[in-house]
Subunit: 391 residues, 2 copies
């Protein structure tokens, strides 16, 4: 057993989750999101492509892991749960037309008398599936099955000192990867070769600690792709003009820290300089606005007003809560820095301020992850905040 946190920290997390369950009158919570497996139990194997369930009961301090037979060893190695609380279904339930793990789960619950009352499921998680919810509703006629999506995600919003320390370590790693990206980006170099160096830096980490696979690949569009989010590299060489964007993310003990910068290929154009000015002033304004008591929407408003002075606007959110992540998303899916989100910021909340600007044929991607402190906000990274450019 190699836990990244103390037993006490896991117990405190579980207590918070159970309190949130009581508030929602839930008797049982069936978790599917691997981030929540990690948060509550420490479980960290890449097994979420098959059905697996972490069961938390409001009146019991021992969560139960139910997964595929071959993954029980991973649960034994990586969680604080007791061996007798690890249960498995046979491999014949995996991707079968005849059997569904949800049926196994329903039987499991019935045998223990846990099949009644109010049962929360994560209906918005990628890893429950609509089919599973249908199976559970059909099998558990005595229960009220309710959507408890994001219940645990919301508990995760405020980070402990230990969690923040891992995000700081991930920040050291992502800084190194960004320096590597900028160093290797030159006209004529294949984009995939720069991606190779970035990945190498992300995994090597520092002499003191290494990196892990992250929730998402580097996004690094260039050429005709440079105005388009969510694209990765190609195997074409960088051109001698235009720009390259780098949205990088490092992972340490499943905690993620991101950093994005744009590199101009050649001397920056006026458009690039204008977007840079908007980005830098917007970020400065947003970081000044972020403090305990401010609302998520206040941070966005500060960014928006500063950027507007440069004629720049953005219809998408300018940031989101971050911490633990597994594919496909680095965000916690809870708080967004946008006009309608009135969540009040608290010390220990962590965000990726991500005000990328995408325009037809142009973009700027300069971002800063930060933690809300007792008095304001502190960025995780120490990396020059500007538009970089190659000679």
């Amino acid at each position: 057993m190699n836990l990244a946190f103390t037993r006490e920290e896991f117990e405190a997390r579980l207590a918070k989750v159970r309190a949130a369950m009581v508030e929602r009158s839930l008797d049982l919570l069936i978790l599917s999101d691997p981030c929540n497996f990690y948060y509550v139990a420490g479980y960290e194997a890449w097994s979420f492509y098959v059905q697996q369930y972490l069961l938390v009961r409001a009146d019991d301090d021992r969560p139960v892991w139910l997964g595929r037979e071959m993954d029980a060893r991973g649960a034994r190695l990586t969680t604080w749960l007791r061996d007798e609380d690890l249960h498995t279904y046979p491999d014949s339930y995996v991707q079968s037309d005849e059997r569904h793990p949800g049926q196994f789960l329903a039987n499991f619950l019935r045998e223990r008398g846990w099949h009644k009352g109010r049962i929360g499921v994560e209906s918005q998680s990628y890893y429950l599936t609509a089919k599973t919810q249908k199976v559970l509703e059909a099998e558990l006629g005595d229960a009220a099955i309710v959507d408890a999506s994001l219940l645990v995600n919301r508990v995760r919003a405020v980070k402990s000192p230990a969690e923040i320390e891992y995000m700081r370590q991930a920040a050291r790693i992502v800084e190194g990867a960004m320096a590597t990206a900028i160093q290797h980006t030159r006209p004529g170099v294949r984009q995939c070769d720069v991606a190779a160096e970035i990945y190498r830096a992300l995994m090597r980490g520092t002499p003191d600690f290494g990196g892990q696979y992250a929730s998402s690949p580097p996004f690094m569009p260039s050429g005709e792709r440079v105005d388009t989010p969510h694209l990765s590299w190609t195997d074409q060489p960088y051109a001698s003009e235009g720009q390259a964007n780098f949205e990088l993310v490092a992972c340490r003990h499943r905690y993620h820290t991101q950093l994005s910068r744009t590199v101009s290929l050649g001397r920056p154009t006026d458009t690039q300089r204008r977007l840079e000015a908007a980005a830098l002033e917007g970020i400065e304004a947003a970081l000044t606005a972020a403090r305990p008591g401010a609302r998520a929407c206040d941070v966005e408003a500060a960014w928006r007003e500063a950027a507007a002075r440069h004629g720049v606007r953005k219809s998408a959110r300018v940031g989101y809560a971050v911490g633990i992540a597994y594919p496909p998303t680095v965000g916690e899916q809870t708080i967004s820095l946008r006009p309608e989100d009135r969540t009040v910021l608290e010390p220990g909340m962590t965000f990726h301020l991500m005000p990328a600007v995408w325009q037809e044929g142009a973009s700027i991607v300069i971002t800063e992850p930060f933690v809300v402190t007792e008095t304001g906000a502190e960025t995780f990274c120490r990396f020059e905040r500007k538009l970089f450019w190659t000679e």
Copy 2:
């Protein structure tokens, strides 16, 4: 627009999908699986962490993409769809408590009169979500919403020559990454530093073509983790005894080819040699059994009988169909090489023969991806099939 396949190949795919829809009496198919987005339309951005839908109608040869506002450019750049068939919902629908993209989709369908008849959804896809299906059922009272999971996945089973060529290219990449892994694995070297070299090799690819991010990270357990599947590396150094497993996967134009080998740290033990013998004979028997007309279960039976002669058995499937992949799984989720799967093999089907053996404290992971040919089976990789070991 940079298509990895000809327009004719996309049209042939769509025709097959529509024929399968007619067979199931479906009027409309709402796709959520990003592999199926790529297969049908070419769409390849990492945007599947938000809701997006690819709509295929049985009586129309123009699929419709509906996604997040900022992702429309990616659809324009990477698909063969016409601009007027790309539609978006506003960013305020993203991860909102008040609005759901499924409502937007339902309105969209109503406006076009596509909200009636039999509508297929991918209820077992990671990316539909249970919540979306509930929203659609509530909104589309005039339709029969049925589970059409894997309909397109099944169409994908038999690969074209162009698809097989990309898997061959991915094979070249994964061979290079495996050679790199074996070369760097030495007692005292940090596992994360070997992971760094593996990733570098996977992305650099060859001088002729580079690699892309794959559906899964390398799995490379060692030390106390060596008997446990689905675990990645740590930042601890390799010990001077025991072993290291490497399950690697390379990606080329979203087509994946895998390769796994075990490296003994020091001279192999008798247990390792016995597991090696079982693995090698099992693989040889399975590859001999794999040919057109044989069933998936016949391949497994051949492996099982050969391995049993060495006292080795395995309760999980020994392989699965492969091709296009996105996280979280490299498998196509259709055909499994296991006793109950009677699918008859056809030329062009592609599998990862993955008979990893996990025992308490021991394991062997030697695998071979292969394509079914007109007369038998051909492995994608040319990589020495044996237990490797460090001096």
